[in-house]
Symmetry: D3
Subunit: 318 residues, 6 copies
């Protein structure tokens, strides 16, 4: 029994310590990162039962990824392990303003990009077994096989009566806006939850006056538009708009905020069905992530609730 | 000859590096921390001669604590070492807003909690040997034996003509407000200096209109009320009030600010007898501590004086 | 379905880096260690399905322990979490000859020592669910409640048709030889596998001419006597003796060798039923552990097999 | 062919990790730092071809300095290596407000201070070989021999038709204002570019109403007055004033900002000859340095240009 | 003017600290490694002037590789930088016996494998510019384009009157013995120096009675057969055999010993032309490398000479 | 009341981590080292009361040295602090055979070398205050003023009825054998204990047939000749020879063994007066030091006694 089944690529993330530049490092900190697995871990720490689907090589680095997921409670038993393939890597060079943090990908031809429809397990998609399926636009971008696998998963989820959650999460370095949009246009009508960043709507659907107008492409869904420091807006299937301001947070690391938002939203939405509450949880988990190293929001429900009543200052809790 | 004799528990403090969460650590940074020993080290670095009294097990971890105290000049020769007992530990998980930093204690039945009146040495309490005795409400809370030992020490100090300093330093996880208050009510009339946080007065003496009204319980003393960012107030034995704003400081670590305040105040008060100056020193040492890792304020008088003339910006001194 | 169910205490282990002494450390490396959990992790990495039973506080340090077990595939779902209790700790100061490595325990009154019979789950002891139950003499020594829990578990295991494995693993700092022996005397007739170090037999049963004579107390069992560098001997239920030399290994860390031995033996014995093979696997896993940091043998079956054909030199495998 | 030839001392810099105090360190981070070499490395990373001249002992620490310079592309082939001499060291204790960061020098009698005119190579000063010679007031202060060497280098540069750049960079711990001023008074009329901090003008030429009035002493030159957060001003040889605000930056490390400014200015000035552009580049490189650990600005032209269009917030660039 | 021109791939090497396993790491130590660049750096530190040719992406990781080479004095100005390509990576998991150290490659489709003949610079191959060209069988194995580039380089070297050095350095994971042998058979007649491991001869030319018989395939060359702890044998072009025992060394890291051997041999051979001396230098540099972390032998001629007179024990030199 | 008063220089020791070479380091481990202070700390940890005399600058690095001494119980109250002077430094590059470990000194003109007779305190040399004065040949070599100070201290010690201990500890990089010998020749007749390495006797007194013949120059003393792995020999004032084999130890770090030997000898000799026992203690403390990082033997009497009964293997003591 799973609350959430996710599907996507997880990469090894290598980061210089102490704001050093990549071209002078002597050691690299190791994290695991991937949009769907970030969401999975955050969901698991919040208390959801999560199963993550993917394809990885048969190497100790893939063991590392699965081990990290497992330590935080995510079920990795259905991850396919492919000998002779490679794991995607990305190098993250954090910086402080006015210098930009940089991400360098080395993910071409990764095992995840080669994920095949026949890699999908049947058990998580049996009727009554799971509540929601979640994936992102990244999975549809990394390779045709991965994209087809995600589509089949969505179909099976639908057939099993599961809800479907899709986070557009556009990566402009992976494909052209035209290709991306044609793919997203197929996903939007399938989903019950659609997450999208305001700036991605502006880039991909320039004809829209406002990001919330994207709801026209996914009327059946609750559309959640994230707007960084300006907060977020949900448009429900019924068409009502709910606004949520962003919670203030000290910057520790920028990555993974969107994935944390999805996790907070989905966790609460599955629990209570209340979109306003879910939006508030999404905002709080995203703020907590921002103040935390690594790609994953490692937070408990109590910590989320503490954000609601916080005055924004840092405290010591004894 | 000591300027100050302190008595209390020092624990091993274990802290995750780099804002990691405790449940994912691979190593822990080691500090020593305890309210009275924090004050002792800060006093010693300011130039006071300090003797710290306590009880510790006969283990290398206790050697570590005594060694750290000794390296900063505190005399530990009278610390009692009890075979088969244990040292208190606390885990400190620092965080950035909106997440709270957390402290997890593992101090039950520590050697310090079992400190006995007969553990007290006589030399530091001989007439003319020492100037001031300092302890805190924590010592009165950790165990009946420790509490009785502190009381005997205060009596001996009084008999030897020493001044007595008592920092309420209420720990709500150690006992109930009722128990605590009944104990504090016995200490307040004994002390020449009483330090208390405004929020502790509000919690423990809710009937008071204002924290400075606590002076009614310790008319013989100078009462120092600390109010975080809002500064501090002293009420002298003569009843006059002196206000001191807080100095701005960059947050590096929240712990130990109150202990640093006491050290700054006591050091200057013993030197000059001037309450306004002492309050200013307390505020400056607390600000310096806030911008420093660890529980202890490692600062020199010159650095304290530099705070008085600082414009609040960070400088390089060559 | 589990191959092996284990029960026992896991502690936080804190170790100075780089052969420093405990009284001078500035950071401590964090491992998790406990005889039964060490065996559990090694079994899991060899491919056995393992469920570990224990009692831990409701703290992030206990989350750390469970997380480490989970990352290596051990099922921790039945571990009881008790608010307000404490986790056992031990400090390990490694050394090189002629200095001895030292272990300092701080485990009195740990949550595990307070484990109660009612903490036992039923599922792992249902008929057909699990193959073997494993515990050690340490669990019988740390507290009466823990001992009673282990006894009940053994009874349930017997009732469910499971095999029982008992590793004497005598800790002389936990109890007297007399108390220990009277407890062990009750366990030996219950077990199908009994592991014991030769030096423990000499200490506890001084009347025996040879460690293998202990088989008189557990005639129903296969008795495995470990003798350090001199290898090991098994006495089968039928009374035949099998000798196995120790494999040479470079010392990296001394702890956990016995637990690794048990894991290797049990894994192979459950697989093939062949005592000679099992003894060989035990010896190989123990040798691999000796050349590895931490308490746990993190090795695969292929690495075990490579030991059998190794000439003892270190190789690079590309 | 070099764009820039620099001459000056580079020291080993030793820094406590994690804001620790120098009197409690167990390890020290190692950097190399010296005003001219900082400028050299920044210039090299911006794309200039740079040759650095100096004198170092014949030791592995000097190899370390040369190696660091070489890894960033600076030509060190003409650095003189003197057996039996010593390398200058400085200890940098970073701090957060209200504590001051501190620099402790141990540079007396360093090999660089003993640099002799005959140590100068001829090749970089051949006609047409190099475009600009750069040194600072520090080199004129550390020793008479070093000062004489710098003077000879300037003369040779002049003879070869090179431009001369002089950064006053006054160090009050190295000499008296009177001695310093008399030396600077000789350099100012020699230079095509003069960099000076506003506060140094106030200290050394107190009779001037404004720092820009220093241009009276170097009418042939472009004078660049740096004013910290208040930006910078250039006075061209023609006497026109150009003002440049400072770019906002998050403080990571204070050292090396002035050297970064010079590098940005010189690089652009040699490229385009445009003083306003050069000033903007100087300001941007200085801002980037401020947000970076170590003494050296490791930045590319693209990163400089990104500062011009930045809104001051930190970004992730994928 | 170069003494040696080398051509080959350099990869990023990522290594767990402290003998940890790859699947549990939290950070990875970063080194650069590649057979030809290892030899290049060792040659440079011994005093040879070396130019290394290769192809790398246009990324900070490639800057890191070039920077490391440059810091040790190797000229990297002709390395081609290809946007959008990737750098090869290998993970090195060191172990102690009886566990094997392991190397995991992720080098498919690296920029170096795609090196093209037109990437070759002309300057190093101009007549009189360089003395010797060195490459290895790895370069011929990683890709057809790389192999063709190496062949062209050898031809140009021959045309420029340079000596040619070829180290067979067979990697069985890159190609089949048959493919490898057919390629090596073309290289052997081209080379003036051929380095080969005895075990590779046994694998690839099983028809030979002895490794030295390989000299039949390269009669024009000096053949150097390395035999690990059993030393090495050179067969000169004149057919005489010279035997050199291996020097004893404490194992610190196994990688790069062969490359260090080549460097020692080539450096001395170019200097003195004496094969026996060159063999002795090769053996000494290899022994020094074995006792050193990383892939590269960072040693000076004085340290090589000290090996000749050493009694094998470790000493302190003040 | 002191058991031992020592006098000499303590330097900052900077060491690359992990067997790296000095010219590639990014951080350096910090220790304090000096022959007399090494002996002082070891004596203190064994239980002797020790006062260390020296001269240091007024800097945080000198605070570090004094703090380290104090943490291990050595009294540093009489150390003179001289503003504007410098602390000696040495870089220690450890290596494994066949590479030699190397020490690079930067100690010229250190504050200790400038120690003056008037820096000597009177209290430790008052009659009945202290038992033994210890210094080494290094102190006599680093500077004339230091040498004169040591001589005056010896005279005062003699006047106060104290014993005098002199360790030749010849440093050939500090002076010529001739100069050294003429100085040592003055010290030998003054001392009650003379420690000398066999190789130093061979170098300095080549006319002697055997190192023990040096006793002719110090007939009043017990002469202790150390011979590395071959053990040590004492010649008593009565002329009897006592031989002590060396205890086996695993090499962790070579430095400080001789100083540890002196400490073990002196501690036991003051306790029991028995030369054979003292020799055994010296050998054991030296062996323990060899297996320990840093310059100082941090060992307890129990650990020394454990060496006597050890079989040479490494053990775990629980």
């Amino acid at each position: 029994m799973y609350d959430v089944v996710t599907l996507g690529e997880t990469m090894l993330r290598l980061t210089p310590p102490g704001l050093e530049r990549l071209d002078q490092v002597r050691s690299l900190d190791v994290h695991c990162g991937g949009s769907e697995s970030n969401t999975s871990v955050a969901l698991s720490r919040l208390g959801s039962r999560v199963c993550w689907l993917s394809r990885l090589p048969d190497s100790p680095l893939a063991d590392l990824v699965c081990g990290e997921m497992a330590r935080f409670g995510v079920d990795t038993r259905y991850v396919v392990r492919a000998p002779e393939e490679r794991i995607g890597i990305y190098y993250y060079e954090p910086a402080r303003a006015p210098r930009s943090s940089r991400v360098f990908y080395d993910r071409v031809d990764s095992a995840a990009a080669r994920m095949r429809p026949e890699d999908l397990p049947t058990a998580p998609f049996e009727a009554g077994m799971s509540q929601l399926f979640h994936t992102t636009g990244i999975t549809t971008a990394i390779g045709e096989r991965a994209c087809a696998t995600a589509r089949l998963a969505a179909e099976r989820a639908r057939a099993a009566g599961m809800r479907i959650s899709f986070d557009v999460n556009h990566r402009r370095n992976l494909w052209s806006p035209t290709d991306a949009r044609s793919q997203y246009d197929e996903w939007l009508p399938l989903a019950d939850l659609v997450f999208v960043a305001e700036r991605d709507v502006a880039l991909l659907w320039p004809e829209l006056d406002s990001a919330v107008d994207l709801h026209a492409l996914c009327r059946q869904a609750t559309l959640i538009v994230t707007r960084g420091a300006e907060g977020s807006i949900a448009v429900t299937a019924e068409g009502s708009e709910i606004h949520q301001p962003a919670y203030q947070a000290t910057e520790v690391e920028r990555l993974g905020r969107g994935d944390a938002f999805s996790a907070g939203f989905i966790h609460r939405w599955l629990d209570s069905g209340d979109v306003a509450e879910a939006l508030q949880w999404g905002a709080a988990v995203a703020a907590l992530k921002f103040a935390m190293p690594g790609d994953m929001a490692l937070v408990t429900p109590n910590e989320v609730r503490a954000v609601f009543s916080s005055d924004g200052s840092s405290q010591v809790q004894r």
